[in-house]
């Protein structure tokens, strides 16, 4: 445990925590409500790939971490005491024996609806959806998706997709209705269920897929990160392989909101974060998506872009970030916002730095460096 640079604070009454999942384990950064001084603890699970670690927003004490360890099979660890002690899932996500499919790793974790304590969802690579009713101890496949006869058409084969495997991510539960959910898949696109996962329909109209012969297919798209707008679950934002989009329900036509990004930067990136109180405010982290896709900050000059008007206009936010020769980027789960006022923005880099802003992106400072490659960052209050 080490204290990072920053003012010493009185004993906090409420804490802001960041769960930092990396290529080599899990770290936690803790601050008080002022969010000025941060204390790092860890690593936990040193040497394990932690793809995602999430604190249950329903009580903040239940944490889940999706782990893959070298060549061992994937598993999920769960803590009931905010990360002090952990137990392994008795039955991690695994496809049915008659499917012929094998879970390579769990990529995404989402806590269930507030009315369903103990319910969690997991998205895997290759694409699969799993549900736990007991706080992550045991997992069952959601047969309406995993066993859907259309699944292979939607997703392609298990060998297709990104170099480290096709993924299900962005599992979003409607805060008004536990049976209403969205998922994102790379590849596959965005899909919706209104009957607790029994049936799914694609939701990709208006989203380009310029890497396919038909640039406007019904499915097969590559959403990188999908979020529900803060305080407005009828609005979704999407950072896609082919731009940035907004969808206002009950409509089903995504609007391209990436056109307002500077031409020199472009609308390509992986993460997207939203403001918990303002449905018009979101942040993206653009990367170089030209030619061979270097996946670095454009020009080696990293910046967050914020919109306060639902994506019509964007403002570059880079105060405190390196001005040049910074060739990292931010993965799709590695940028998040807390629910404080003013909103805090945090992101972890592929070079192992954790950056944070406690003034909605106006200024950033480095909260930790020299960590392994950061895969995911999640904030927890309490």
């Amino acid at each position: 445990m080490a204290r990072l640079p920053g003012a010493a604070r009185p004993a906090p009454t409420r804490r802001t925590r960041l769960l930092v999942a990396t290529r080599k384990g899990l770290w936690t950064l803790t601050s008080d409500l002022s969010r000025t001084g941060w204390r790092a603890s860890g690593p936990q699970f040193l040497g394990h790939i932690i793809h995602h670690a999430v604190a249950d927003p329903r009580d903040n004490r239940a944490w889940l971490a999706a782990a893959r360890t070298g060549h061992l099979g994937p598993t999920i660890f769960r803590s009931a005491d905010a990360g002090r002690t952990w137990k392994e899932a008795a039955r991690p996500p695994a496809f049915s024996e008659d499917s012929g499919r094998v879970v390579d790793h769990t990529f995404w974790l989402t806590a269930g609806h507030p009315s369903q304590p103990g319910v969690w969802y997991a998205g895997t690579s290759p694409q699969g959806l799993f549900r736990s009713n007991d706080g992550g101890a045991t997992w069952e496949g959601v047969s309406g998706f995993n066993g859907n006869p259309q699944r292979k058409a939607w997703c392609g084969g298990d060998q297709d997709g990104t170099p480290d495997g096709p993924k299900m991510h962005s599992i979003l539960v409607d805060p008004r209705d536990p049976a209403h959910m969205y998922i994102g898949m790379s590849g596959g696109g965005v899909f919706e269920t209104t009957d607790n996962g029994a049936q799914w329909k694609p939701l990709n109209k208006g989203v380009r897929a310029d890497f396919l012969p038909d640039p406007a297919p019904e499915y097969g798209h590559d959403p990188h990160c999908v979020r529900l707008a803060g305080g407005q679950p009828d609005r979704l934002y999407q950072q896609n392989h082919c731009g940035i989009y907004r969808l206002d329900r009950p409509g089903d036509q995504w609007q391209d909101i990436g056109a307002g990004m500077p031409k020199s930067v472009g609308p390509v990136g992986f993460p997207l974060a939203v403001d918990s109180r303002d449905p018009d405010t979101l942040w993206v982290f653009p990367m170089d998506g030209t030619s061979v896709w270097p996946r670095t900050a454009p020009g080696g000059r990293p910046a967050v872009y914020r919109s306060r008007d639902g994506g019509r206009t964007w403002k570059r936010q880079n105060q405190g970030l390196p001005k040049s020769q910074a060739w990292w980027t931010v993965k799709r789960q590695a940028m998040t916002a807390d629910n404080r006022d003013p909103t805090g923005i945090y992101f972890g880099t592929t070079s192992g730095e954790l950056w944070g802003s406690r003034d909605e992106g106006r200024t950033f400072r480095c909260l930790a460096r020299h960590l392994p490659q950061i895969y995911a960052v999640e904030a927890s209050i309490g």
Binding site: T69, G70, H71, L72, G73, T75, E97, R101, V102
Partner: protein
Amino acid sequence: MRVRIPSPLRSYTGSAEVGVAVPVLAPELPPTVSGVLASLNLNYPGIRFRIVDEQGKVRPHIKLFVGSDATRDLGAPIPSGATLMIVAALSGG
């Protein structure tokens, strides 16, 4: 039955070698690799899934030795007195 455990799996067992009890139904029916892994999983829940996937295949880069003979056949018999050795490659970065 003695089972040798590789370092990545010792978080389960706490030691490099463990003994597991495997029911022997009849002298002509020696225990199999599958039976030993099932017994191992009873003692250390979750360990089998780290070794064998949901389709019943030994995971890539994991090797099993019955005595000095490598096998990927979960049905392979384990002769009396032989040790099952589990090896997990440490390759990669």
